[in-house]
Symmetry: C2
Subunit: 416 residues, 2 copies
């Protein structure tokens, strides 16, 4: 395939090329029982070990898919701490503006051909979220929130931080008893149930994942909230009726940028002029697609928008953006917890799935952790309000410590 003579010298040359193309991170690259390279005068944080020349060639030809699949298959191994090694790579990754504009161009081309129709959305959702709930139970918090948590302090537990996140969202929305909420993309239903239980809201929550909806309905019955929370197995585009609040936590990433105008229309139809809402989503500093490997193996159809792109959902409808918070450090921390729990439960996961699945998910969780830590990815919470909606005077109410007689964690604002 290559015109170069296949030799150890060629291997060394190729390894050097890979190293310099990725910004010369402090990482050793090696072929098992063969060549190895390392940037001079640094102590490498770990080694990427290609089991054979083929794995290296695949990585050269298709860097992200070659590495991701190679790692998942075991044709590539990492010696040392995977997260530390990925962090070293991400920090050196050519992230300059030139690169930004190039990836933007690429992004535009790729995304044009990936519009998420209702049918395609259903298939994309099925790919990821219809994995058995028992798998997610092993490493998510007790209430199964599969989105960025909010850690009042970095020492908070994952359970506390997910409850704090739900309260942070409800407080940002100033949710009142009796108000109605439409939730687009509700996962296993924790937020919808929390809104009903602690804030007295009435919620209609939409989700395309059959497995998640079944679980959420069961929870509603168990918690005696089925009269106030309705879980609907349907596309967000089919939300009908008027609501006080529109909430979407971790769904915009799956909408696809070609469908933002449609989403804006749905939100406007749902809220009219007097409603308010929140979009909580993975974003970026500038437009770029997810890595090809993530889009191929983990999240088909997913796209994390820049803040500019995300505002195009709301701009045509005279919604005022009232608040944008960047919680990327909280997603890094959330992923630290998930990865740690994932590793602790590897034996159970191995009983459910093959080794390739386990390794692919390890790489996905560690890679995501690092992306949020170094800032390749951001997490935005954006609240907005229609022109006839009252908005809070300041944001101080989000940070008030409730009176000691109140139940729950100190940042919790229980209303029931």
């Amino acid at each position: 395939m290559l015109l170069l003579p296949v030799s150890s010298a060629t291997d060394t040359w190729l390894l050097r090329k890979v190293l310099s193309a990725t910004g010369d991170p402090p990482i050793r690259l090696a072929i098992r029982d063969g060549a190895s390279v390392c940037p001079p005068k640094v102590r490498p944080v770990g080694t990427i070990l290609f089991q054979n020349r083929a794995a290296l060639l695949k990585t050269v030809l298709q860097p992200e898919i070659g590495f991701g699949d190679g790692y998942a298959e075991g044709a590539i191994d990492v010696e040392g701490d995977l997260t530390a090694l990925l962090e070293a790579a991400y920090r050196r990754w050519p992230g300059s503006s030139a690169w930004g504009w190039l990836t933007r161009l690429k992004s535009n081309c790729v995304e044009r051909f990936q519009a998420n129709s209702p049918r395609r959305s259903r298939s994309n959702v099925h790919h990821h979220y219809d994995l058995t709930t028992d798998f997610y139970k092993q490493w998510l918090d007790r209430q199964l929130l599969y989105t960025c948590a909010y850690f009042p302090t970095p020492e908070a537990s994952l359970e506390e931080a997910q409850i704090a996140k739900m309260d942070h969202v409800c407080r940002k929305l100033q949710l009142q008893p009796g108000e109605t909420v439409a939730e687009a993309g509700c996962g296993w239903g924790a937020l919808a149930l929390h809104m009903a239980k602690h804030y007295g809201a009435r919620v209609k929550a939409f989700n395309l994942s059959h497995e998640q909806i079944v679980y959420a309905r069961q929870q509603a019955r168990q918690q005696e909230l089925a009269d106030r929370v309705e879980f609907i197995e349907d596309d967000y585009r089919n939300i009908s009726g008027r609501f006080d609040v529109f909430a979407s936590i971790g769904m915009l990433e799956h909408v696809g940028i070609q469908r933002y105008a449609e989403l804006g229309k749905v939100i406007h139809r749902t809220l009219g002029k007097s409603g308010r809402g929140i979009l909580h989503f993975i974003g970026r500093n500038f437009p770029a697609p997810f890595s090809p490997w993530i889009r191929k193996r983990i999240f088909p159809g997913a796209y994390a928008p820049s803040l500019r792109e995300a505002t195009t959902v709301l701009e045509p409808w005279d919604f005022a953006v009232t608040d944008v918070e960047n919680l990327r450090l909280h997603y890094a921390k959330t992923l630290e917890h998930w990865l740690e729990r994932f590793e602790r439960s590897v034996s159970q996961t191995s009983a459910m799935f093959d080794a390739r699945f386990v390794r692919a998910w390890r790489l996905y969780l560690a890679g995501s952790l690092v992306a949020f830590r170094v800032g390749t990815l951001q997490l935005f919470q954006m609240t907005f309000a229609g022109p006839d909606c009252r908005i809070p005077w300041t944001r101080a109410h989000l940070y008030e410590v409730p009176e000691p007689q109140e139940q729950g964690p100190k940042w919790m604002h229980a209303m029931s």
Copy 2:
């Protein structure tokens, strides 16, 4: 000029047209000693009184300039409370999306021909900010901040709220002793001096207004801060050197959208990868120009961007938007204070300027107040950070009550 016979019936027909074109607000329109109309079954909040048919015709032909100039000249009078009347009008103003898209189109055409070169910027700034400082002293706070204040509670005084605003900005930036700040558009210098005095920063502050720079330098000497704050009479495009922080409070409105790429370049050159900054600016929910009257008489070259448009300053440079706060209610409150003080000092102003000036400024202040109150205009504070800059864990530090032994208002975070 018109082919219609000039009669009282024609006047009534014209007045009705004006009323319905503006959404039938609860306002009486009348010609002195002539026709008058009012929407049926409402109690009008006031009367717009055209002194003669010519004033009405000018308003019909060029609604905003006709009304603005007519009011300033006294050819149009308002009976009843000006602010209440404007609010009634703004609330009914056709603000639908169709209107939005139309004004966007108009905006694009207008703005293409209004790029603010350094020379034009200088002339625009001179038009507004080089009015004698004695005029602004009559109705601004003691430190002469001519931008939106931050009222911890609506009852705070304007003096307190302007100090709170400066602290809010410094806290958002987590400004530390010894850090360097480049300020683009510094007014009479209050923030630059505050940063040096209370946070130990070293500030270079840029402004094109000669009168303001002279005043600011005098303040720096009086407060013995001239060794830490340098006021430079120059365009923001000439900022040179590296700084920890870039701050721009109320200048983006004067940059003009065609110059955002250039501004972004200046910010990136100033901060590199490790700096952070804040843009505080008048914005909108969707792109639209200021009223032609405001652009002609009050702020030539001004443009308030949508949040989407504002993010284009930062997006090419891998800056992470860390926080966006919408303070439009605070600008409405600020303008309430300014208008009240302006009215209290009308006799002094009348000694400096003619009646037309006084009436034009009354209309500008009242109109702006109402625009922020009803949401035609927004006030965004957007903080951002380079990829190598640490970002705060949460925003709770903005709302912490300092220990009682600290001096200053309770929300103040004095560090000196």
